[in-house]
Symmetry: C2
Subunit: 235 residues, 2 copies
DNA sequence: TGTGCTCGGATTGTATAAAGTTTCGCCTGT
DNA sequence: ACAGGCGAAACTTTATACAATCCGAGCACA
């Protein structure tokens, strides 16, 4: 009988039921199946996953901490609706953190990692070819998470996961065109730079990639909350 | 009767009982009254705050997400014990984020903010003069949080709160001398740079301040976990 | 006809009870 | 005397019951 090794309590894929709920809801939000503002009733989710409200609440609280769910007292949990201000903050943070992440990734390059990156690019291309928008959105985010994992920096990885999840909501809310969420081409260029261990190029590619994503957004400023009513209904 | 304005659900000082517990425990950890590894029993805390275990559990889960508490399955919650590797990650992240934060703070400078900063420096000096180590430690961290608030960037603020809390544990565990956690002089120099809106100087001061803190640490690498036992007990 | 109020249904917040797991002490066997 | 195993106590985990709150339909009234 194999001795039971103590596993880290916060293992990413802890197979407990709370994690299953959290990951299920997260995936639904990241794939744009759950839209901002959607009510996430405790009973409803509990029935879907065959769990009691206790576990559902735990999962929802974790998601609230990650910023993709809002919990309003006595009203329940809702898929977050980031404001344009939130969006600018998220992308500013990403522009700060991700160049550093790819920088570190260049140092961690290995055959195994290059394999995983290449495989991921293939998956992205396939999803895009068959027009699977949901998979495309999910994989776009996962590319950035993959690079963060590669950096071997668990704090950056944690921060980035949060930023990616919120970015997904932001893109859904504010994207102007129906262009793909993250150009696969950009990702390929970033991988090329990483393969060459060219930190300078990697940082530059990542930065321009992020700028391009943000440039596709239409972040209208709700100048004053009071005037909106007249604005919207005055037509 | 004043109309009830909808308050943000995650108001920092939400006067609900969960927040009181969370802030109480956080303060105890940040002031080094609770040492790393200390068991945080649910009953125990619940009795102190007159709350049921349900609420205590919620608070502990939030603290776990912030990285200052570890929850081990079926064993309970413990004050986190960051490894030297964790420590390096935390300070690397701080060196990345905090220069950007002071940069933004320089743009937000105003009489009101300068007042708050000055007042804070006074408090720090007073605590240090009367040898109140606990208050010193707490205020040192709060200075950095204050600058982050000043930056007006809620994401950076959230990230930094996490990093500060963990830094406090790290300093407790790994500090070599009994030098003050954060030199008040450094803080004063940073404030001076902010007052002059000198971004360059502010970033430089902040960076050297962080470097100095980390330099005071003794981050021994536990080369192999197995050898530690022999090391420690071999004397 | 439109406004404001009240009551009922539904949902969340909290507490408590049942179930499962770990840990530590004690005891037995060698 | 000491290693190993059994068992009870303590704790965490999960489920459920109760209390508090919110939202909306329907009604009374101006």
């Amino acid at each position: 009988m194999a001795a039971k090794i103590r596993q880290k309590s916060d293992a990413p894929d802890a197979s407990d039921r709370v994690s299953r709920i959290r990951e299920g809801v997260t995936a639904a939000i990241l794939e744009h199946r759950l839209l901002p503002g959607t009510k996430l009733g405790e009973d409803e989710i509990g029935e879907i996953y065959g769990a009691s409200r206790t576990l559902v609440r735990t999962a929802l609280q974790q998601l609230a901490h990650e910023g993709i769910v809002n919990i309003e007292k006595n009203r329940g949990a809702f898929v977050a609706r980031p404001t344009p201000g939130d969006a600018r903050e998220v992308f500013e943070a990403r522009r700060l953190i991700e160049p550093t992440i790819v920088d570190r990734a260049c140092e961690a390059v290995s055959a195994a990692w290059l394999d995983r990156l290449g495989q991921h690019l293939t998956e992205e291309r396939e999803a895009e070819l068959r027009g699977d928008a949901r998979a495309s959105v999910r994989l776009s985010g996962e590319f950035h998470k993959l690079v963060a994992e590669m950096s071997g920096h668990s704090i950056y990885l944690g921060f980035l996961k949060e930023l990616i999840a919120r970015s997904s909501l932001i893109i859904l809310l504010y994207r102007r065109h129906d262009t793909p969420a993250c150009g696969t081409d950009h990702h390929a260029e970033i991988v090329t730079a990483i393969r060459k261990r060219d930190k300078q190029a990697a940082r530059a590619q990542m930065l321009s990639h992020l700028n391009e994503i943000e440039a596709e957004l239409f972040l209208k400023d709700p100048a004053a909350d009071d005037t909106r009513l007249a604005d919207v209904l005055g037509a």
